[in-house]
Symmetry: none
Subunit: 133 residues, 4 copies
DNA sequence: GTGGTCTAGACCACC
DNA sequence: GTGGTCTAGACCACA
C-alpha cells in the first residue's frame, strides 16, 4: 500500500488520505479485514499530524469503509461494503455533472468522456494486489 | 439561464456559481457572445456578496470561458473555447479516479460507471434551448 | 439558552455539549432556524477549546439537527428534524435496556420506571421558551 | 447465561460485560447466590483480557451486585440487592433526560417514549428462566 | 501501545 | 468575522 500526499495541494491532506485509502480498497491492495497502520504510525510515516490521520480514519469509519476494532485496531470493513445508496449516487451524479460540463465546454465528446471514465475506472481497480504492467 | 445556489452546501458559493455557468455554456443555454449579468446585478439577484460573483467571473475569465469588457460587460467567450489541454485532462483524470474508486468500492461495475458518466454528460449537454429562449 | 458543563465529569465535554443542545431543541428554547453562537464565541463563553465546540457542532450537523449555513453561520435545522429512523430506535432501545435492567435490579417496578421516563420526558420538553413552574 | 460482546462497539468491553450481567440478574437468569465463572475462565471463554473481566467484576462488586469470595469464587449478591439510592435515581434521570430529548427532537411523543420504556423494561425482566435451566 | 479527548495556537478560504 | 484545516503536545481509558 503506497500513499502519496501532495502537501502543497489545495485539497486538504485528510481528503487526499481518504481518497488514497479508498483507492487502495478499490484496487484490492487493501482487503476486507486488513489492518491499517495506527494513527500515530501512519502520521509519522507520512510526516503529518496524528489528528489529520485520525480525521481521515473517522470519516472512512462513518462511511462504513473502516472499522475500529477494540482488539485489532483499525481494519478494512470485513462485513461487506456499504453499497450503492441513493445519497451516494446523487453525490456521484453531482460531481460527474460538473466534470462533464467542463469537459464538454472544452470540446470533449460524450464518447470520449465515457471512454475516459471507463479507462480510469479500469486502471483504478485493475492493479489488484500490486501487479503493474 | 437559471442559477440555484445551496447556501448550506460544502462547496463554496463561488465554485457553485462557476459550475452553473459552465453547465450553462455546455448545455447551450449560454451561447458564445451572450452577455452575462453585471457583477452587481447578479450579486443582488442571488442575494450574495459582490466579491463572490467577482471571484467566479475572474476564475472563468482566467480559464478562457468568459471575456470581461469595460464597455460590453461580461460575455461568454466568442473567440472559441479553450481546448483540451494536458493540464485539464490530468485534472479530469485525477477527479475521475477518486469517483471511480468510491463507486467501485460500493459495488458499482465498470459498465455502470461508464454508463452513468455517459448519461450525465448527455443530460448536461442536452438541455439546449430549453432554458432561456 | 443555558449551558452547564461539568468539566470533572467522565462524560466528555463535547458529549455534554451535544446533550445540552439537543435538550435545548427539545424544550423549544432553540427553535428551528435559530442561530447558535460561533464556535469561538461559545468556546470562550464556556471556557473550553474551540475544537471541542467544533466537534459537538459537527456531530449535531451530521445527525441533521444543525446546519452550517454559509451566511447565517450555524443554525438549528430549519427544514424539519431527522425523524425516527430504525437506527435511532435501536440505539434508544439498547440504552433503555441497560437502564431498565439496572433499575429493575434495584427494585424499581415497571410502573415506576415507565412513570419516571414519562415524567423526565415531560420536564425536558415542557419548559418551552423558558417558562418554569 | 449468554454473553455477547461487540468488539467494534464504542462502549468499552468491560461496560458491555457489566451491562449483560446486570441484565442477567434483572431477568432472573442469574439468581442471588448463583456462581459466576472465574475471572480466568470467563476471560478465556470470551476471548478477552483478564484485566477486563476483573474490572467488570470489581465494578459490580462495588455496586453491591456481586460478592467475591476467596473460596466460593464470584457469586451473585445473596444478601439482598442494593436499593434505590438517591444517587442512582439522579443518574437514571440524567441519562433518561438525554434519551428523552433526543427522542422528542425526532418526533417521538411522550406516550410513545413512556410506552417504549415500559416495553423494554418488560422484555428485559421477562425472560426469566428461559436462558439457562 | 491503541484510539479518544482536550488544549493552544496558527493559517487560510470564504463572505 | 466565520468555519475549516493543520500542527504540537498532553492526558486518559482501554486492552
Amino acid at each position: 500500500m503506497f500513499i502519496e500526499l501532495d502537501l502543497q495541494s489545495e485539497t486538504p491532506i485528510y481528503a487526499q488520505l481518504v481518497d488514497q485509502i479508498v483507492e487502495g480498497i478499490a484496487s484490492g491492495a487493501l482487503q476486507p479485514g486488513d489492518p491499517l497502520p495506527s494513527v500515530r504510525r501512519l502520521a509519522e510515516d507520512l510526516g503529518i499530524n496524528l489528528h489529520t490521520v485520525n480525521k481521515s480514519y473517522n470519516l472512512l469509519k462513518q462511511e462504513g469503509l473502516l472499522q475500529v476494532h477494540r482488539k485489532k485496531g483499525v481494519i478494512v470493513q470485513p462485513d461487506g461494503m456499504p453499497g450503492l445508496t441513493e445519497a451516494f449516487e446523487e453525490k456521484l451524479r453531482r460531481q460527474l455533472r460538473s466534470l462533464a460540463a467542463a469537459a464538454a465546454v472544452r470540446g470533449m465528446t460524450e464518447e470520449a468522456f465515457a471512454q475516459e471514465s471507463r479507462s480510469v475506472y479500469r486502471n483504478t481497480i485493475t492493479n489488484r494486489g500490486g501487479e503493474q504492467r
